[in-house]
């Protein structure tokens, strides 16, 4: 079901109410179970008793409808970008992006590849980068704790930035996706 209107800009919220909700948001991060690159292999140990990310309230959801966080786990191929955009826009506001690995920052070892994106931030609003190739589970947990702090402080506003600067993001996305067959506003 597509929507053909520009996204509404979020209105002002009551501050005290929003602070309490931000605490809840930070302590209940649900992640879309979607691995885009090799980094997804480092997410598996987070479920195990050794790392146990459920103790921070982080859980995996199999559908973007119910998720809050999208993890771009490593390199992002040009073919995958369309699917990632579709998944990201199906997630309900507020939503956050965590980008893993060097590939999302500057292309990493694929910097001169013909089919890999170099700077993810031009196409989707990234809230937290976790560096490394690949980042260990400890580093991912550290990244999540940074995201939690940002949400608590009300600084994780990538989703608002995306809505406000949609034209900029769409222009960059369309440069990569030459067979663009999605509606321009699809949430």
């Amino acid at each position: 079901m597509y929507c053909n209107q520009r996204p509404e800009k979020p209105g002002n919220k009551i501050e005290v109410f929003e602070k309490i909700t931000n605490m809840a948001r930070a302590n209940s991060l649900w992640v879309t179970a979607y691995g885009t690159g090799c980094g997804a292999i480092e997410l598996r140990p987070l479920h195990t008793s050794r790392f146990d990310m459920e103790r921070f309230g982080i859980a995996m959801r199999p559908t973007p409808r119910q998720a809050d966080v999208l993890i771009i786990s490593g390199y992002l191929a040009t073919k995958t970008l369309k699917r990632v955009i579709r998944v990201y826009e199906q997630i309900q506001d507020p939503k956050y992006i965590v980008a893993l690995g060097s590939c999302t920052i500057n292309g990493g070892m694929y910097f001169d590849s013909y089919n890999t994106l170099n700077v993810l931030d031009k196409y989707l609003p990234v809230d937290v980068y976790v560096m490394g190739c690949m980042p260990r589970p400890e580093a991912i947990i550290d990244g999540f704790s940074l995201l939690m702090r940002k949400i608590k402080d009300g600084r994780a506003q990538g989703w608002k930035h995306y809505k406000e600067n949609l034209d900029y993001y769409r222009e960059n996305q369309k440069k990569i996706i030459t067979d663009w067959d999605l509606p321009d506003y699809n949430w």
Binding site: M1, C3, I20, T21, A24, R25, N27, S28, A33, T48, S49, D52, E54, R55, F56, G57, R61, P62, T63, R65, Q66, D68, Q90, Q92, D93, P94, W187
Partner: protein, 299 residues
């Protein structure tokens, strides 16, 4: 006026207790896995977060109404079951009718959920609903036979009468007077709570999350609350039917807590049945057990 206050108190207390039980069960499951697990208040945080998320997806009228159906079913059962015997807050609304209406209303909530999931149009939701309804018709059979055995044995279909007949000490509890029917009902309790080995409806490895696949934000928040209320309603019904009802708040909390932990512990250590295995098991084992007591009572 006092009735309205009683209703509000009952619903609020049941919601808090249901969400807390859910949080405790997540922690217990994590400890069985050797993990720390989330905090016990995690379910409250999840429900609040979901309630404050934006909702911009809908798939039709039934999709909207399904969470309401579920909550309505749960509240109706809660208001009709004698929660604490003789307590003016919870006894006033207790329903003096028969136990089959309660079972029907419990089914009503699940049916609403099934229609809503069907309306969402997602193939996984539809597969899960067909599985759920097939399994429901299997465990409802054994549960109904168990209830009939108890009702025939006590010469009453009234829920109040069934509770009143168990007040002469622990030996008068139906679990001791009707051991086979109780075993059948307790086996049927596992699929009612969607516990493994009967967890074929949510089945994360095949049909991720099942019926609520398309539900998000406030819908999901309502569904979580409805599930918590429904869980408490089922626990109170089972405590009333098999464990002598609750004579005080303390005994209610202890009995419902222990009963809630039974599917949690079973669920943590068992793998999952396939659909046909689950249905075959439910048609044969609990149904036969319940029938043994029914025949014994009728003879």
């Amino acid at each position: 006026m006092s009735n309205i206050i009683s209703i509000v108190v009952t619903i609020a207390a049941s919601l808090i207790w249901g969400l807390l039980l859910g949080g405790i069960s997540r922690t217990v499951t994590a400890r069985i896995h050797g993990r720390m697990g989330p905090r016990v208040t995690q379910n409250f945080i999840d429900v609040w977060k979901l309630f404050r998320k934006k909702t911009s997806i809908h798939h039709g009228g039934m999709f909207w109404m399904a969470p309401m159906f579920r909550i309505t079913g749960a509240i109706c059962v809660l208001l009709m079951v004698p929660i604490v015997i003789g307590n003016s807050v919870t006894w006033n609304m207790s329903f003096a009718g028969d136990v089959f209406l309660l079972i029907y209303i419990m089914f009503f909530g699940c049916l609403g959920m099934a229609l809503g999931a069907g309306n969402s149009g997602h193939p996984y939701a539809v597969i899960a609903v067909s599985r759920g309804l097939a399994q429901m018709s299997s465990y409802e059979l054994s549960f109904s036979i168990a209830v009939v055995a108890i009702a025939v044995g006590l010469h009453t279909f009234r829920i109040e009468g069934i509770v009143a007949a168990q007040q002469a000490g622990i030996s008068s509890w139906n679990i001791f007077r009707f051991p086979f029917a109780s075993a059948g009902a307790l086996l049927a309790f596992l699929p009612m709570q969607m516990a493994y080995p009967f967890g074929i409806v949510l089945a994360p490895q095949e049909i991720p999350i099942g019926p609520p696949t398309e539900y998000s934000s406030r819908f999901l928040s309502l569904m979580f609350s409805g599930r918590a209320l429904f869980g408490v309603a089922k626990l109170v019904l089972f405590v009333s039917l098999l464990f002598g009802g609750a004579s005080s708040w303390l005994s209610l909390f202890v009995k419902t807590f222990l009963l809630y932990m039974y599917p949690v512990v079973v669920s943590s250590v068992f793998p999952r049945f396939r659909t046909e295995q689950s249905i075959r098991f439910l048609w044969f084992v609990p149904t036969t057990l319940a029938l043994v007591d029914l025949v014994r009572v009728m003879l």
